[in-house]
């Protein structure tokens, strides 16, 4: 009985082609590998995502919470036709990107979670995700939304995405934007980079273990700074600062 119920609950995934791993040199000279992960690696990723749920900065908290849920759903077979790519530097996880196949023509981009700020880590990982939809899955368009201003700048502006506002995105029903094949081809030479095959040692290092990020995003020192600036125009915050500085 329980087995039958699980069959009902569990969607039947399509057999998706694998994303061929690639690598690229970052601005700091390090080499970053982007590769697809299977379900059995998800438990290794979740703890690193979980920590970012508490980072109240640049919408890391909501993105991490949603990515956590999406990875868990993928792991427990509660989402249909999802895929997950990770970016690693020396085995250390620096980004997770994921998405879903809606139908043979349309992809649904879920999230890009960068665990190391700067160096276009997230941008390179996002480009790999789009490459998967366009070049590997041969889709016609990918529906995208951004939850942070950084995301908006990276996706909507850099790729000059088209509006598909009449289509609610699976993330919160927000109006969708679209990366079409034509837009992707235009961006191909400037935004989509990487080399294949990945040198054996580099790939082996990435497969050996998903190591924790050494420099993950952190919350600003004063979590309430933004709120305080809206609510406090009395100087109370300065009095508090004075106290911290030793009672000037």
């Amino acid at each position: 009985m329980s087995i039958d119920l699980e069959k009902i609950l569990r969607p039947v995934d399509m057999v998706l082609p694998e994303f061929p791993a690639k690598y690229m040199t970052l601005s700091n000279g390090q080499e970053m590998v982007v590769r697809q992960v299977n379900r059995d690696e998800i438990p290794d990723i979740l703890p690193h995502v979980e920590k970012l749920m508490h980072v109240e900065r640049d919408y890391y908290h909501i993105v991490a919470a949603r990515v956590y849920a999406e990875l868990l759903a993928y792991y427990t077979h509660r989402v249909q036709d999802e895929y997950v790519l990770v970016a690693q530097v020396n085995g250390e996880i620096v980004a997770v990107v994921n998405g879903r196949i809606v139908n043979p023509d349309i992809g649904m981009s879920f999230h890009t979670l960068s665990m190391r700020r700067g160096l276009r880590v997230g941008a390179h990982a996002f480009a790999a995700k789009m490459e998967y939809h366009m070049d590997i899955l041969k889709q016609k368009e990918v529906l995208i939304v951004a939850e942070s201003p950084i995301g908006f700048r990276r996706w909507m502006i850099e790729y000059k995405l088209e509006k598909r506002f009449h289509i609610p995105h699976e993330l919160g029903g927000c109006p969708s934007w679209s990366l079409t094949k034509e837009l992707f081809d235009r961006a191909r030479n400037t935004l989509v980079v990487g080399r294949r095959p990945v040198p054996e040692k580099l790939l082996a290092k990435a497969h050996t273990a998903i190591l924790p990020p050494t420099d993950p995003p952190k919350a600003p020192e004063d979590l309430l700074a933004a709120t305080r600036s809206m609510l406090d125009n009395t100087g109370t915050s300065l009095i508090d600062m004075r106290r911290k500085l030793g009672g000037l």
Binding site: T25, S27, Q30, P149, R195, A225, G235, L248
Partner: protein, 391 residues
Amino acid sequence: MREVYVAGIGITSFTRLEYPLVEIAAYPGLMALRDSGLKKVDHIYVANMGGGRVNGQTGLASAVVDHLSLTPAGAETIENGPASGASAIKQGFMAVASGMHDVVMVIGAERMREVNQLEATDFVATLTHPLAEYIYGVTLPSLAGMFARLYMEKYGVTSRHLAMVAVKNHYNAMDNFYAHLHEEITLEGILDSPEASTNNPYVADPLRFYDMCPVSDGGACLILASVEVMKKINKPMIRLAGIGQATDTHAVHERKDPTDLLAVREAAKQSFAMAGVKPEDVDVAELHDAFTILEIAESEEVGFFKKGEGHIALEKGETKIGGKIPINPSGGLKAKGHPVGATGVGQAHEIVLQLRGEAKKRQVKNAKIGFTCNFGGFGNNVVCLTFIKEK
């Protein structure tokens, strides 16, 4: 004129700060008060460029003096484009040197990240000539791009030299807690690898992404005082010994040779003459590298190197910490950040740290004479400062 010393210093991180502009200005003021041990000042000068336009905050100095509970001290806001900071220091110097005041607080503060980069770039571009430049879409990066192209053709500077400036300053900033960018970069990553053109795309040809300073928020403060005040507090005697200021044509194309930064040359000359030192006496300098090409050009114009040889000195490592004349040990505007109105004060803050011997890992050994160049407009209003450590 009386001699003028730096009694206290303070700074915020140069980064994105989620504080109101008034607090960004006030916080380093508090730090400087604590550093100096002083509890009141006679006058406050606040350098700021964009408060009215970007933050909807005018009369900043009046707000800051009250925020710091330092009323009834006098307070004035100084706006002189990106050179506002050093201009405010100059005003503070004159107030103390003249005998009008004994203790003056000079703050520089800016909150540029309240708007997006496009608006921030446009706001800074308002300092260009309104009819000859701005209306045609000229921005500071575009002027710097044209300047760099001319410089390359005339003096043999290459993209690699520009990238070397960026690599050096990012490296220095790694040891500066207050710097905006704590991100080491390499020539391979930004110039040589197959991915370099994506990592480091052209922004204003020949200048690329890593040739540009970031858009930063931040504040910095110097408290200037007379020798009588300094005798009462136990602080190193860092004297503001020289100030020079010069201007050039508003529109860059009106200059006889746009690669000659005459205002930098003249301001540096004045500053060194007033301090009674020569360029070769300087132990450490903070130059206004809003764009990498400017560090090279300014290093020549102020007299550290012959015209057209700044990039050669860079190649030899003479501008690194430990080199002949370390430039931008803080990371410079390139990596420490460039909150425009605060930049000049931030440069002076670094020099005072260096002369005090408090710069930790990025300390220039035995630094006794320090120099700053705060570059306003595109070189049309420049203020240079020379600091000397006294026994």
